[in-house]
Amino acid sequence: MSADPSREFSHRLSLPPFRSTPWQQWLPAQLSCLEQSSIEVDTGDWHLSCRDLQELLDALKAAGHSVQRITSHCQDTLISAAALGVITQRRVVDCSTTDDASAGSDAGNGALTVHQGTLRSGDHIESRGHLLIVGDVNPGGSASADGDVYIWGRLRGRAHAGLSGNRTARIVALQLRPLQLRIADLVARGPEEQPQPGLAEQACILEGAIAIEPACPPFAPQ
């Protein structure tokens, strides 16, 4: 893989969270206790333009530090860093599971598998219990579970609830615009019309067929 992203630096400067303190006020105090060396800067959730980032780098350089790497989970900051010629590393927000893993392999009925992040085309995630995706399911992506499938985002791909035959399973999404829905052994195409904005909907089996209705209680998985 390119330039050893796993390399750990002895000194890492982590900026405070975006909402707590402006980094310009926070930095001088930190500089006095940091010894001059090569450091890695973790900019956390700050969105830094090229100009902002240059200001930060200049301040560090003036104090005698050289920045070897910038870590962030913000795209904008990574792009600015790359434009200034600094090596970047994307910090992935901690997820409890990774895609395609034997997610919930030991999780029996009722256990919830959580996946943070959008499922892109070609990605597939499966759970033996219930599945919660915090993110979208893009067209071409698919999510399945033996229990219910909850999508805190837009379902634009495929979802399969009740994999092992549970016909009371349901699929709930903040925006249900699927390519295809499956519950247990039944299959349905996604509806043609766009859903009402702001209306969370669920798909469940009613009278032998998959029906879509506004999401309604009980909300806890059965």
């Binding site: 792009i79 010629g85 893009n138 071409g140």
Partner: protein
């Protein structure tokens, strides 16, 4: 502190404009003063040399460099008019049988020691050619057209780039037709960025001159032509280097032109 940048230009779908982007971006960066090398990673069907008009000047290729039959300088082909740009030609197709990701990393390492920018023209698809090229890359530019299948393939590629730790990944939207977008016959820019969730590095309008330039082996950015695509490529190069250049708005482009003006005039109520 400034490091060399190794950027992979990929798309998933074939024919959306990777090689054209690589050639034009290479020339644009070179013109703006950065020493740039373009590497053709498509060993099966190479055509980066054709687009740059350097086909008949190739003596050694990446294959000989790896086998150490020649030095790197002997294989690099300098562009006649733009001396800041060099090309490392792809090896012959039989290379595909033995080339490993580590080999690509070796080549990219040698190039990044010498040049400010290393642009890697990725082959289409997500198979071995792509896997080899990805191993060598630091950053990536994904190029797509506003078309359902291209966007789907780009989505897949972005997922793979994330898995390989390539960062940052930016997006170029190519072959944009503002009139079709205005009529909703073509996916809107927002539709594309909505699904791909990547920052937009540039928008390139559909431009017939691209075909002419390909056949002649003279990329559009070479002769300072003011064609829309050339301007867009130049802007992409500037944004890549950190300059803040406003993105073109396709809605405004669709409204320019004589016919559009007449249409607007006829729609205005005069009484």
């Amino acid at each position: 502190m400034t490091n060399s940048r190794t950027i992979l230009i990929c798309s998933g779908k074939g024919g959306v404009g990777k090689t054209t982007l690589t050639a034009n971006l290479g020339i644009a960066l070179a013109k703006q003063g950065a020493s740039t090398v373009v590497l053709d990673a498509d060993f099966g069907l190479r055509n980066l040399d054709l687009l740059l008009g350097l086909e008949n000047r190739i003596v050694y290729t990446a294959q000989e460099v790896l086998a150490e039959t020649c030095r790197l300088d002997q294989a690099l082909v300098k562009h006649k008019q733009e001396p800041n740009l060099a090309l490392l030609p792809a090896g012959n197709p039989r290379m595909l049988e033995w080339l490993k990701p580590e080999d690509m990393q070796t080549i990219a390492g040698m190039l990044s020691d010498r040049f400010d920018y290393v642009l890697i023209d990725c082959p289409a698809g997500i198979e071995d050619g792509f896997k080899n090229a990805v191993a060598a890359a630091r950053e990536a530019i994904v190029i797509t057209t506003p078309e359902v299948s291209a966007v789907r393939d780009a989505d897949r590629v972005i997922g793979l780039l994330n898995t390989h730790g390539v960062t940052p990944v930016q997006l170029v939207l190519n072959r944009v037709r503002p009139k079709m977008m205005a009529n909703q016959d073509m996916l809107a820019v927002d539709d594309v960025t909505d699904i791909l969730a990547l920052p937009l590095l540039g928008l390139v309008l559909e431009d017939e001159q691209v075909i002419v330039s390909t056949n002649r082996g003279e990329p559009l950015t070479l002769n300072g032509s003011g064609t829309p695509a050339a301007k867009a490529y130049g802007n992409i190069a500037r944004r890549l280097q950190g300059e803040d250049v406003a993105l073109m708005d396709p809605a405004r482009e669709g409204r320019s032109g004589f016919r559009a003006k007449v249409r607007r005039l006829m729609q205005t109520k005069l009484f």
